[in-house]
Assembly symmetry: C2
Homo-oligomer: 402 residues x 2
């Protein structure tokens, strides 16, 4: 029996670590012969665009480089299997038959788990013994069933280091200023909220944290900033890209392109620029908006060691689960304790997680709706622990490339 | 005799390293008693807002943290001494007399060197024995007289690591795309050009590099991108914020705020967004613009060790020069060799550098004006070498704060 593994959705720093985990555990199994990588997610299966990973991952150094390489070395896709598309299932089956694939591992986010669910149901319904296992990843941390998602810890570590550095940068002048940091998160504010970790080191920035879970009131925002500027001249604001105005429209809607991706998600950007203009027009002080953009999901040079280690482990666990007969599952982190931090890995039926979103808990948002309470810190802090040792050449990180 | 030191202009990762150098060398001198730090640059002198640095820098760990802290721990300013403002000179002199300041060190960029020049001339003209020494810093690398500027190497290291990570991120999908990375540089393209270092590691991105030194032709840009997309689906473009359209206006002018700083510089931003819209309208493929924003000047977690080490040394050399009787000088790096890399530090009359700008050499720009030639690599590469060990606490960098 051979296996196939693919990566899907938006890049993270840990998605290749999970691939390495799958590969390492599969190598150990006598039941598994070849380990194929599908290029560009499920599209690579449909198009029979597979590579034998052993041709590329030849030694321990290759594996180590893979773990520390951001994004998806196998490429990604945003392909959704249409309802009732029997021909697609048949193409996938044809590929799996041709390559003698007994297990398919799909490393991805919410939309990828939809594929895991549909595919495993199709195989089950047709009594085909091919197992399908989902390995989670998302910097949004919005997958249900898992305590946190692979890739989130590294993004949160980047956010905290960078917000702190921006805080240093924003405080140099004696004049009043507002610095607005726009952080990824369509509907769930986890990544933006994680910036509260800086408090554990005595840093009070960001002074305000705005999440998509709470409707945004522009007047209250301006009032809050003005009030704080009486005692703190350089105000630093962290805001989720998906923050919505009271009433329901995206706050930065006037800056939207209006375009949507294959899943109908609107491309978001612009809340930072929107608030910059609002501050400029109403307060008139120095103001700057900063979009952390793709750097927050690909800055592997400051990845969280905890995140990468766990991401390797969850990949390994996926192989163990499949060999134990599981299918239609997503692997999950279950937190046993925050202090001291301890997790274990289990699998849950993917139907419990696909097409759902896990929002940031309301009880961790302060009553004014403009910050995160200290209760959230013990949740986030373990996830950003540990520094990785990245191989450098000529002063630059070395990545693994297929 | 006491001394005073101040920091001015835009933040960098190395400006505190130079402060540490001044402090360390001054501690060693029997001629120097107290070492004062002026808060918010020359403004702190005018307002007699000085602190005794020994009250804050108490041990080796404090010094090490200072070296690895971005931005300016003493604060900064963008104050320009007006022409014929005798009262300002008198206030500065009053402060220096009160604090028995015999040497004033000003760590800053082009505009700060203007202050060094004016102040030293004033003291010379009035036979006042107070020495004024400039210590350069700028991520723009546009200071004349010095081979490169403290702070530049760290910014260039960040740019290279980040452009490489963005390259990984941008290549995941099978569809055609253009990724536009906007990099700081008003009039000089050094920092944007430095991204050519990636070639030393076999990375071909960025595929196009646009600098302010060459007028930008939008039609040629689109033609170049379309041509490259025939063989390379994910095109990555590095562009200086200050790129000007053929004809002279800033390419991103329609996105400008129109506001200017105290020196009459227009606040720039928007070339990336401008080109994103151009690509979207003409090519219609997936396109994203990314502004490296203040992260390129404050990401001390990926500072260049070479840069920080040299920045400490140039601070030390400034003290030595002043004690040797020099005034009205800026300290400079003189490169002896690129392979192997070797520099020494000298001082030059500040009049040779103040109010001048050093542009990126035309002979290192390709004939098409859309890239940098390989000849530039040996210049840049030594400056980004070496990784710093930053103290971490709770998974986040620790900074020195006054």
């Amino acid at each position: 029996m051979n296996i196939a593994v693919a990566q899907s959705g938006g890049p993270t720093c840990a998605i290749n670590a999970s691939l390495a985990g799958v590969y390492l555990q599969a190598l150990k199994s006598e039941k598994i012969d070849k380990i194929f990588g599908s290029l560009n997610g499920i599209e690579g299966i449909i198009k029979q665009n597979l590579i034998n990973l052993s041709d590329y991952l030849k030694n321990e150094e290759d594996i180590s480089l893979l773990v520390h390489t951001p994004s998806t070395v196998l490429g990604s896709c945003r392909y959704k299997i249409p309802e009732g598309a029997d021909d697609i299932y048949e193409k996938i089956l044809e590929c799996f038959r041709k390559y003698d694939i007994g297990i398919f591992f799909y490393i991805g986010g919410n939309d990828s788990m939809d594929t895991v669910m549909k595919l495993s149901e199709y195989f089950r319904k047709n009594s085909i013994d091919i197992k399908v296992i989902g390995v989670p990843k998302t910097i949004d941390n919005d997958l249900c069933g898992t305590d946190h998602s692979p890739g989130f810890g590294s993004a949160a570590k980047y956010v905290n280091a960078t917000v702190q550095e921006i805080a240093r940068d924003s405080r140099v002048y004696s004049a009043k200023s507002v610095t607005i940091i726009e952080i990824m998160g369509r509907h769930a504010g986890w990544l933006t909220a994680s910036s509260c970790c800086l408090r554990a080191n005595g840093e009070i920035a960001p002074h305000f944290i705005y999440l998509p879970e709470i409707p945004f009131n522009v007047d209250k925002f301006i009032k809050d900033v003005k009030e704080l500027q009486k005692i703190n001249k350089a105000v630093i604001v962290a805001v989720s890209e998906g923050v919505k105005l009271e009433g329901g429209s995206f706050a930065g809607e006037q800056y939207q392109s209006g375009k949507t991706d294959a899943f109908g998600h609107q491309y978001l950007s612009g809340i930072g620029k929107y608030l910059e203009n609002v501050v400029s027009d109403t307060i008139g002080c120095k103001v700057r908006s900063i979009e952390l953009n793709v750097m927050q999901r690909c800055s592997s040079h400051i990845a969280s060691k905890t995140d990468l280690d766990e991401s390797v482990e969850i990949g390994k666990s996926a192989v163990k689960s499949a060999l134990n007969g599981y299918t239609g599952c997503m692997m999950c982190y279950i937190r046993d304790s925050s202090e001291p931090y301890s997790i274990h890995i289990e699998s849950i039926p993917v139907s419990q997680t696909a097409n759902n979103e896990k929002y940031f808990p309301m009880e961790w948002i302060n009553s004014e709706g403009n910050n995160v309470s200290d209760d959230a810190i013990p949740y986030f802090l373990p996830l950003i622990q540990g520094e990785v040792e990245q191989k450098m050449k000529n002063g630059m990180p070395v990545h693994f490339v297929i």
